[in-house]
């Protein structure tokens, strides 16, 4: 009942306010009339009665205000009033509003997006149960010397035998697989061979069917396959009948036993088929194809497991003199998925974007302070007209929060768009990109920070002016009061900070840009224009072409057809391609060059190529000859070595005529005569600088899956479809994959550095822009404040140039201070970039010289505009002002 009465009042007060007000007015006037009547009845004159009645009433408006104060919903009403007033103030100062909103939106948007990316990649739980207990085990040893390399079956058995730290170690390897041929057209997919414990280690449940059961990696087991959700939908129309069906994997039948959900993306994001790896007792060491994956036993930590693996590594070396400096590095599952360079890059970017937010916040604070000074007089006037101080403060607070919320909304839109873009495009080729989504926590935090800024820097000066001496403030009429002078100093300090922080970011971006430019200058070792080279991975199918003779005939036909396509200049096949598709690698021996006992040459790229490979890519011949069609199976084995090979292994000798052989375990005594020396080519990525290699002719070293490389007279991508059709028509069992022009491969191989560079440059650009706006605002404001003074100076004979110099000097001195501080900050922080840099140091002199110059130029430009405006001040007007 009473509650209903309250609600009725609330409704009345909020929605029929004019009537409520009229009613109150009528009531009070009626009271006044009655009172006047009474006085007259008591014998007063009409005018006197009215006057006394008014005095007794004590001010009509004051009584009304008292009544309003007790109304239900008064707070809400005032809030709405404040909001309306706030919106009006924001609309009336479009420059202030736009700049503040832009700063907040950029700061909040960029941060929310970046932190969502960082959270998704670094922190969001993986879609595997208890993934933090799963570790991946690698092997590093000389002569191979890959930091996170692979092991062979014998190593795995030895690890398993001596293992205490993990539950049931599993083994896996990624490989390309040809699927189909019996049902539907064959296609090449990414696959993996895994031991029986693989799925249970990762605690992943199939969508339908089952995963491998214990013992299904024993040699007597038949071939089984677990397929991914994507291929199940694509090839089998999501039919549950696929279970128990026999499919062809690399030409051999395998029974499908289960389907994995799409979120399961291990070992690779694209992996779609898992077959059971059979643990046939190895007769020798090699091949080194495998990595281990295992779950830590309860209570065992990763360092403890590493210690145990170190011991096992020592034993492996004792048993096999081939291994030198062997270790078994172990990484948590997430770190293994991310790789070693991504985490520092993401952390650097997250730190950088945090600095952008800092600058944005400082900018808003600066704007707020400037506005507080402008509004000093308004506040004083309102106070003297009877506004409550609390009410004023509340209103300023409402304005700040309003601004922050609007900025936050714009930032949210920006973040949402940014994340959608990153997810769809994945420009950095980031792993775990599917776990990146707009993070509410990050957005909330950013919003909180920006609101806090608005409140602190909007409120503090407001409170101060609320306390100020009203008389002097109004009389001064907006000329510098003591409080506003203090604020001026605060603003100058804030601008110095902005410049310093933006310069730090600028230096960081400069370093990454220089590093990326270095990366772009790396050619990969071939001179053919990348846009004119088309490459694709061909798999003729295991059944027919396992035999070298049939296979060689097939590839001869491929090359013949390719060369006949109009626009194709030369064509070749190879098992390796620059910049980062290494095929085989092995150690080797040089005839007549005995190694010290126990010594061994490193494992380097051994590349199998058809005769025209070097001409096709434009790899220069230094000495001797290229391979020809005469280097066949029946003739003496020949090899070509790279320049780097000669420099390292045959220094100061004539390489031609020397004989080498593959010398890893399992190779025979097959000496190859060196017939040529060619330029260095990169097969391990553009950033690897020493990559010696030796080449063997295809006819003497056949491999089943090969890359076709075609050099075209024009844009290579246009020929892709024609070539695909020509090659597939040779045999319907042929599958083609990874079709694309070389320029794409090159771009793809540096996608992550490009992503880092792009983002950091973007952040630095925003920071510089915000800093420029900050200093522009400061100087423009100060010019406006000094109109009078400048007018006097000009009246006394100062030239325009003097005025410009005076104003610019003010900006330049702030900038200089900011730049000194910023260089210090950059010096301290850019070392975090060290691991991301290629070809330059973290204290690159050019960057450290250029960034301050650029920063100074932008600042001077920003001060020049208000400086010019100052010269247009007319002394007459300025002196008459006020």
């Amino acid at each position: 009942m009473l509650l209903l009465s309250r609600l009725a009042s609330l409704r009345r007060n909020l929605f029929t306010r004019p009537r409520v007000e009229r009613d109150l007015d009528d009531e009070l006037h009626a009271y006044l009339d009655q009172l006047t009547e009474e006085k007259r009845a008591a014998g007063m004159g009409a005018a006197e009665a009215r006057r006394i009645a008014r005095i007794e009433l004590g001010g009509l408006e004051q009584v009304k205000e008292e009544v309003r104060q007790v109304r239900t919903g008064q707070m809400l009403e005032e809030l709405l009033q404040d909001l309306r007033y706030g919106m009006r103030t924001l609309r009336k100062n479009p420059a202030f509003t736009v700049v503040a909103l832009l700063a907040l939106a950029l700061g909040i948007g960029a941060n929310t997006a970046m932190f969502s990316v960082a959270y998704g990649i670094l922190l969001r739980p993986l879609p595997y149960a208890n993934a933090d207990r799963v570790a991946v085990v690698f092997m590093r040893y000389f002569p191979r010397d890959f930091a996170f390399g692979t092991m062979c079956m014998r190593d795995y058995l030895m690890w398993k035998e001596n293992n205490r730290a993990f539950e049931d170690p599993s083994l896996f390897t990624s490989r390309r697989m040809d699927i189909g041929g019996k049902e539907g057209a064959p296609e090449q997919v990414q696959g993996a061979s895994v031991t029986a414990g693989f799925f249970s280690t990762l605690e992943v449940r199939p969508l339908i069917g089952r995963a491998f059961a214990a013992g299904e990696d024993q040699p007597t087991t038949g071939a089984l396959a677990v397929i991914g959700e994507s291929i199940w939908r694509r090839r089998f129309a999501a039919n549950t009948g696929v279970l128990g069906q026999s499919i062809l994997v690399n030409g051999a039948p395998a029974t499908v036993i289960g389907v994995m959900p799409g979120v399961f993306q291990f070992p690779q994001r694209q992996t779609e088929v898992w077959t059971n790896l059979l643990l046939n007792p190895p007769t020798r060491y090699g091949p080194w194809f495998y990595r281990g994956v295992a779950r830590l036993k309860p209570g065992v930590t990763l360092p403890q497991a590493q210690a145990e693996l170190n011991n096992i590594g020592l034993r492996m070396m004792q048993q096999n003199s081939f291994y030198k400096r062997l270790t078994l590095p172990v990484l948590g599952l997430r770190d293994a998925l991310l790789g070693v360079t991504l985490k520092p890059a993401i952390l650097v970017l997250a730190g950088a974007v945090g600095l952008v937010l800092l600058i944005a916040v400082v900018n808003v604070a600066n704007l707020m302070l400037a506005r507080a000074t402008v509004r000093e007089r308004e506040m004083a006037l309102r106070l003297s007209l009877g506004a409550g101080r609390g009410r004023l403060v509340r209103q300023l607070l409402t304005e700040s929060v309003l601004l922050a919320l609007m900025g936050g909304a714009a930032g949210l839109a920006l973040a949402w768009g940014g994340i959608a873009l990153v997810r769809a495009w994945n420009p950095g080729n980031l792993p775990l990109i599917d776990s990146v989504r707009l993070d509410a926590g990050a957005l909330g935090f950013m919003l909180f920070v920006s609101m806090l800024t608005g409140v602190l820097f909007g409120l503090a000066p407001a409170l101060e002016s609320a306390r100020a001496d009203l008389n002097s403030t109004i009389k001064e009429g907006g000329r510098a009061s003591a409080a506003s002078q203090a604020r001026g100093r605060t603003r100058a300090a804030l601008v110095v900070c902005e410049i310093a922080v933006s310069l730090t970011l600028l230096v960081g971006a400069g370093l990454l840009l220089r590093s990326f430019a270095n990366l772009q200058r790396v050619t990969g070792g071939f001179s053919a224009p990348p846009r004119q080279i088309l490459t694709m991975l061909i798999s003729p199918g295991d059944r027919k072409y396992k035999d070298a003779r049939a296979g060689l005939a097939f590839y001869d036909e491929v090359l013949r057809r390719a060369r006949n396509v109009p626009g194709v200049e030369t064509a070749a096949v190879t098992d390796s391609l620059p910049p980062d598709r290494q095929g085989d690698a092995d150690t080797f021996a040089i005839e007549g060059q005995p190694l010290a006992p126990g010594e061994i040459n490193p494992i380097i790229s051994d590349v199998t190529v058809s005769p025209d490979f070097f001409q096709t890519l434009g790899i220069p011949l230094i000495k001797g000859r290229y391979f020809t069609a005469h280097d066949t199976q029946d003739l003496a084995p020949v090899a070509i070595v790279s320049e780097g090979f000669v420099r390292r292994f045959l220094p100061n000798q004539d390489a031609l005529g020397k004989r080498i052989r593959q010398s890893g375990p399992g190779f025979g005594n097959n000496w190859m005569q060196i017939v040529g020396v060619v330029g260095n080519v990169k097969y391990l990525g553009l950033t690897v600088d020493t990559d010696p290699a030796y080449y063997m002719p295809l006819a003497q070293s056949y491999g089943l899956r090969l890359y076709l490389a075609v050099r075209c007279s024009g844009d290579a991508a246009r020929l892709a479809d024609t070539l695909r059709r020509k090659i597939q028509s040779i045999d319907p069992g042929v599958t083609l994959a990874q079709i694309g022009a070389m320029d794409q491969s090159l771009a793809w191989s540096v996608s992550q550095p490009r992503f880092d560079t792009m983002l950091l440059s973007l952040f630095a650009g925003i920071a510089l822009l915000l800093a420029a706006v900050g200093i522009y605002g400061l100087i423009a404001y100060s010019v406006a404040q000094r109109t009078h003074e400048i007018g006097v100076r000009m009246a006394l004979g100062a030239a325009r140039a003097d005025v410009v110099r005076m104003v610019v000097r003010q900006g330049a001195s702030l900038a200089a201070l900011g730049i000194v501080l910023g260089l210090g900050g950059a010096f301290a922080l850019t070392r975090l970039l060290k691991t991301l840099l290629f070809g330059i140091g973290a204290t690159d002199a050019l960057t450290f010289a250029a960034a301050p110059v650029g920063s100074m130029l932008v600042v001077l430009l920003a001060t020049f505009v208000p400086a010019l405006r100052a010269t247009r001040i007319s002394p007459v007007v300025a002196l008459r002002y006020e």
Binding site: M1, L2, R6, S9, E66, V67, V70, T72
Partner: protein, 108 residues
């Protein structure tokens, strides 16, 4: 006792008491209060009207426009059922306090 310095609770109780017998307009209420307190409390409009509006919104009073004794329009207030209950409750409370205060002040 200074007439302006009325405790809010006291003013509420006086208004409820003033309206106990019949409905009244604002001026009549302030006269009635002066009368029943023998001129001790003189309620000013700046206190009276906020109190009336507050009590109306609380549901203790209801108001309606009517004609005054000398044929002028005036807003009349009357007690609601809730207002009557409130009057009883506050009266009891006040009596308890008054007895307690009197006894406290008489004590040595």
């Amino acid at each position: 006792m200074p007439a302006t310095n009325l405790l809010q609770g006291t003013l509420d109780l006086l208004i409820l008491k003033a309206l106990a017998l019949t409905e009244m307009h604002g001026l009549a209420i302030s006269h009635r209060i002066a009368q029943i307190t023998n001129g001790t409390f003189r309620v000013k409009p700046g206190s009276l009207f906020p109190a009336l509006h507050r009590m109306e919104e609380a549901g203790w009073l209801a108001s309606a426009w009517g004609d005054s004794e000398n044929n002028r329009r005036a807003k009349y207030y009357r007690l609601t059922a809730a207002g009557r209950r409130q009057l009883q409750a506050e009266t009891r409370q006040w009596e308890t306090i008054a007895v307690a205060m009197a006894s406290a002040l008489r004590a040595n």
